[in-house]
Amino acid sequence: MGDYTFFIAGSYAITALVIGGLILRAVLDHRAQVRALAELEARGMRRRSSARTAPVEPLPAGQAAR
């Protein structure tokens, strides 16, 4: 690569960094949303469409969400 090593290696390094960052962000964001949804469902929350088959009882008065 001779005199052009910096330019060629720099291009591949920056591309790897940006694509790697996109993949990492996608994985972490997905995990965070799955975790948040699981916590809500564990507290008895269901979407209205799901609630038709599994009705949700209201929380007792005064019980706060975690």
């Binding site: 052009y4 940006v18 996109l22 962000r25 997905h30 507290r43 929350m45 979407r47």
Partner: protein, 245 residues
């Protein structure tokens, strides 16, 4: 196709498709990199710096592809008000921005040894920079408006106004005298690149496209989950404090 437009069905289908897509993307990029580094010869004029083209050109194509996909989704949001069109727009923006950034940085690193400058205010370079700034503006607008449907309408208008820049980027090298070379692959009279360099470029372009599509589908799935979380959080708040609802 219309069945896929239901978010629950979309989650089911894409959940099965995504692992295969990731596998295909990984294998194609690996083959593309091998061909780009060990099969394609050095260019007779540009020497080894032609290796930068295998990243720069696919990144430019995908930056334009994802903006076009966002514009198509924006029509879906404005005309049919379909939530999956909103989700598609929102998931495409960071991916398109990343490819626009890669295109600008690798172009700059290619420009210095070939043109003697990292940057010139050439029509192609400037219109690509505007595309990147449009992506940044769109991502900022998504974060500014909290209610997803309202945000989608505002973003759709901005996206469609900005879509005028897509043909400008593509044809800038034909409309103006630019330092950037004219199109050498998608031409009416056929590609002007020698097959020994063209085929590795096309393999890399396919691989990077598969990576982009996989990231877009993954982003759409995450956005659907985020909206479910938002809906359930609001429902929970209403249950806990019915008077506030």
């Amino acid at each position: 196709m219309w069945q896929l437009a239901n978010p629950t069905r979309f989650m089911g289908y894409t959940g099965r498709l995504l692992p295969w897509l990731v596998g295909a993307a990984t294998v194609t990029v690996a083959i593309g990199l091998y061909k780009a580094w060990f099969v394609a010869p050095a260019d007779y004029q540009q020497g080894e710096t032609v290796r930068i083209m295998f990243l720069h050109v696919p990144a430019a194509w995908l930056a334009l592809f994802f903006y076009s996909a966002m514009a198509a989704s924006a029509i879906g949001s404005l005309v049919w008000r379909h939530p999956l069109a909103d989700v598609s727009q929102k998931a495409a923006a960071p991916i398109g921005a990343a490819f626009a950034l890669i295109c600008l940085v690798t172009g700059s690193l290619w420009g210095k040894p070939m043109w003697g400058a990292y940057w010139v205010w050439d029509a192609r370079l400037t219109s690509m920079l505007i595309l990147f700034l449009l992506y940044c503006g769109i991502m900022a607008l998504w974060r500014t408006i909290e209610e997803p449907a309202r945000a989608a309408r505002a973003v759709s208008i901005l996206t469609l106004v900005g879509a005028i820049n897509v043909p400008i980027v593509k044809f800038s090298v034909d409309w103006w005298n630019t330092l950037h070379q004219p199109a050498s692959v998608f031409r009416f009279d056929g590609p002007t690149i020698h097959p020994s360099i063209l085929y590795p470029l096309l393999v890399m372009a396919l691989g990077v496209t598969l990576v982009g599509v996989a990231l877009h589908i993954a982003g759409m799935r995450t956005e659907i989950l985020r909206r479910r979380v938002r809906t359930l959080t609001i429902l929970e708040a209403e249950r806990l404090d019915p008077q506030a609802a």
